[in-house]
């Protein structure tokens, strides 16, 4: 039953090759979807181009369905999948900070790496700022330690919040994603008189 210990099964070199292959595919898809271009990334916030949003959410729902179908069929132990623990209020504040940074800078940390791969100067500066920000945070987090460790909820996922079966929540998330695609597409047509290119 997955997840498997790749290093034990394939050895260190074998597992690194697998990671390399997955990283290559990931980077290839991100770049070809426009995740390395800050103009396309920022355009989604103005409903000008929704390709990034659609790729992102499609990836999320496909991964979600693969994970939970694998779990349902006994191929994967979902309990062994690392789920980032929840610190509610620090998470909300962090999300707001990141959202503002995303709109202002045109990148999130991951997409700035994609842009650096194609030698985009704005991406390089964003990444540099990101590294400095990480260092500055590390040096100052002690001052906000109490808030930083507040409202801890452990491994907390949507079925826990809604009190619904995981499969039902997955269905609702798919409906939400599709409704969002349709709704945002409608807004895009209303504002700009056109949808995304095919």
């Amino acid at each position: 039953m997955a997840p498997y210990n790749l290093a034990a099964a394939l050895g260190a070199t074998g597992s690194y090759l697998v990671y390399l292959g997955i990283g290559f595919c990931f980077g290839f898809i991100l770049e070809s979807s426009g995740f390395g271009d800050s103009r396309k990334l920022a355009a989604q916030f103005y409903f000008r181009e929704l390709r990034v949003l659609k790729v992102m959410f499609t990836a999320i729902v496909v991964a979600m369905l693969l994970v939970f179908w694998s779990s349902a069929l006994g191929l994967l132990d979902y309990g062994d999948i690392m789920v980032k623990e929840t610190w509610l209020w620090p998470g909300i504040v962090g999300g707001l900070v990141m959202g503002v940074g995303f709109i202002l800078g045109g990148y999130c940390p991951g997409t700035s790496l994609v842009s650096v791969a194609t030698l985009k100067v704005d991406g390089m500066f964003f990444l540099l700022g990101h590294v400095v920000g990480v260092l500055a945070f590390g040096e100052t987090v002690g001052y906000i330690n109490e808030f930083w460790n507040s409202s801890y909820m452990g491994r907390f996922i949507l079925p826990d919040l809604l009190g619904l079966d995981t499969g039902v929540v997955a269905f609702l998330v798919v409906c939400l994603a599709l409704a969002m695609f349709l709704g945002f597409g409608w807004v895009q047509k209303r504002i700009y008189g056109r949808g995304d290119p095919e």
Binding site: M1, L65, A72, G74, D77, D80, A170, V174, C175, A177
Partner: protein
């Protein structure tokens, strides 16, 4: 003219169908999950790798470096009659409530399940493994065996002796005079005063304990 299906609509339809089917199919409960895990873990039961001797449990109880949880899955009546100090009574059906706690255990944690014999404890072991894969073991022979080894004659009726382990039926086969719970001498015998008992160490910690004394 032949109508073309929009690939976006096709993709959306596929996602809806796959998620709708998942909602109907559901996620495996603990029994089903154990069935999926059995090929990998059942050999531990078959070769009795997880059944620990009472002496090993007594050693764990007295080891301050180990975070020990003892789940007693017997009924309330037997629990009231006798139980180990610091053990926690829990019904099998309530084990899922321990998921969060078990997932948060440190690498120096050991969980031991006890029942009167091994029947209920083995079922609990399977469920705990399906629930959170803790470092979990079963008391060999259960409370009946524990009392055979550490029981005190004065606590029990005259009929006290050694309960037969040959035909386990899940009952407490030591007749107590009073329901004293954890106030029996056998609830936490002094490891240094009981007769020495040889056993094969089966408990493996997920992390090596660094024991230091004095000024270290």
């Amino acid at each position: 003219m032949k109508a073309r299906i929009n690939p976006r609509v096709l993709g959306a339809g596929f996602l809806l169908a796959a998620s709708g089917a998942l909602a109907l199919y559901g996620q495996p409960d603990l029994e089903q999950k154990w069935a999926y895990m059995a090929p990998e873990y059942a050999s531990r039961l078959e070769y009795r790798e997880v059944y620990i001797d009472p002496a090993e449990l007594l050693h764990l109880i007295n080891d301050d470096y180990i975070d020990l949880i003892i789940y007693d899955v017997r009924n309330e009546r037997d629990w009231n009659m006798f139980h180990l100090v610091d053990s926690e009574r829990i019904d099998l059906k309530d084990l899922p409530s321990q998921r969060k706690r078990l997932r948060g255990l440190s690498e120096l944690s050991v969980v031991v399940v006890v029942s009167n014999d091994e029947i209920l404890a083995t079922r609990a072991w399977k469920r705990l493994l399906a629930l959170a894969k803790p470092n979990v073991y079963i008391l060999e022979g259960g409370i009946n065996h524990w009392l055979n080894v550490y029981g005190v004659m004065g606590d029990e009726h005259e009929s006290h002796g050694t309960a037969s382990l040959a035909r386990p039926d899940g009952t407490l086969r030591h007749p107590f005079k009073l329901a004293l719970g954890a106030r029996h001498a056998a609830s936490r015998p002094d490891e240094h005063r009981v007769a020495h008992r040889e056993y094969t160490e089966k408990v493996k910690l997920l992390k090596k304990v660094k024991k230091a004394g004095g000024c270290d």
